[in-house]
Amino acid sequence: MAQPNPLTTPPPGADTKVVPGHVEHPEAHSGAFPPFETSGFLAQIIWLALAFGLLYYLMDKVALPRIRGILHDRAERLRGDLDKAQAMKAEADAAGVAYETSLRDAQNKARDIAQATRNELAAEAEGKRKALEAELNTKLAASEATIRSRTEAAMGNVRGIAGETASAIVERLTGQAPDQASLNRALDATAH
């Protein structure tokens, strides 16, 4: 050491305490083992009190409230966000359920409408078919009646023609015309 250290060099008149194990390097440190050098104790305690007091003040008034605030805010924000997410999820679930319900309603309604339309159309077709059938039936009946009257008329004409033919044949064969009564008898006999 170039210049004497005022802290490790005891002031004049002070008891020079020499730790036995360290006397071999008097030029490096004259005096006691530094951590036990009592002459610096007061100053060290004063500086410690000042430094630690300042540190305590800063931590107590500034640092710790701020960090506590940061951690608290973060926890609050996380809880808020989670709550919001929960609410949104519930909302989404509700929307899903509503969608499903409305879809099912729409499907049901569509099915009902289709069924109703189908029934209506079927009823209409059935009605038309019945009307047509009835019309056809009446026409059929009319036709049948016409046919029957025509047949009867035709049959009536056949008797007349047969009578005339028979009377003509008999006149040619016998030379005289048969009387009407016998002709009718003969006609009746052949008709059955």
Binding site: N5, P6, H25, S39, G40, Q44, F52, L55
Partner: protein, 251 residues
């Protein structure tokens, strides 16, 4: 060439600004004081400057401050329960102060403030005076029930009470000596092993052995980092445990 070993030199106080003396007491602004204020500055940087943005997503140093906070908060809470919250600033300040000063000591050529018994004793005395002061303020004479274990036969108390008193008085001593001795011994051991490297290198053929103390020095350095952090933690934890006695005296 002679190399002399002086593992003690590193602990010497150096006066930066002499301020005179009172009797035997030298008053000066020493490097020790400078380191203490530097430690306060570094702690303020971590816990105040880095947190000034109050970011919800923290940066690295804010994250560090939060980790320290939560760590000490947990420690205090575990030791003292809910009422211990008011001592959080004290325990946090002690932990950060001791941790940063210990780590400062790990910087080459730096001074380890905590290797001075008066500093560690000052901190331990602060802790014990807070314990006794708060205990008496809060519980009055009931606080001294701390020394009387409950459920013990009267004759045994004659033996147990002195033991409890002695164990209580030894607390500030053990608290301060533990930290001081760890730092002192660690730094001396590192210095000595590092010195062996130099000595072996200058010893001709023996220099082939010089890597051995080098590896030891490296291992010791790693160990000293562990010790630096661990002793700060031990100091903070014991402080919290002692404060618990002030909050809840009686066994």
């Amino acid at each position: 060439m002679a190399v002399t070993i002086d593992p003690i030199h590193q602990f010497e106080l150096k006066s930066l600004v002499p301020l005179g003396h009172i009797g035997h007491q030298q008053l000066a602004f020493t490097q020790s004081a400078l380191y203490m204020f530097a430690a306060v500055g570094v702690i303020a940087l971590i816990t105040i400057v880095a947190t000034s943005s109050r970011a919800v997503v923290p940066g690295r140093i804010q994250s560090l401050a939060e980790i320290f906070y939560e760590f000490i908060d947990d420690t205090v809470h575990q030791a003292t329960g809910d009422q211990g919250k008011k001592f959080m600033p004290l325990v946090f300040s002690l932990f950060m102060f001791v941790l940063v000063l210990n780590l400062f000591g790990m910087i080459p050529y730096a001074f380890a403030v905590t290797s001075h018994l008066i500093i560690t004793f000052g901190l331990a005395a602060l802790v014990i005076s807070v314990v006794v002061g708060y205990g008496v303020y809060k519980h009055g004479t009931h606080f001294f029930g701390l020394f009387v274990p409950s459920g013990v036969p009267k004759p045994l108390l004659a033996i147990l009470v002195p033991i409890e008193v002695i164990s209580f008085i030894s607390r500030p001593i053990s608290l301060s000596v533990r930290l001081f001795a760890n730092m002192l011994a660690g730094h001396i051991a590192m210095k000595i092993f590092a010195f062996f490297v130099v000595q072996l290198l200058l010893a001709g053929a023996w220099s082939v052995l010089s890597p051995l103390p080098l590896f030891l020095t490296i291992a010791l350095t790693a160990l000293e980092f562990l010790v630096a952090a661990l002793q700060a933690y031990v100091f903070a934890t014991l402080t919290a445990i002692y404060l618990n006695d002030a909050l809840h005296p009686g066994h």
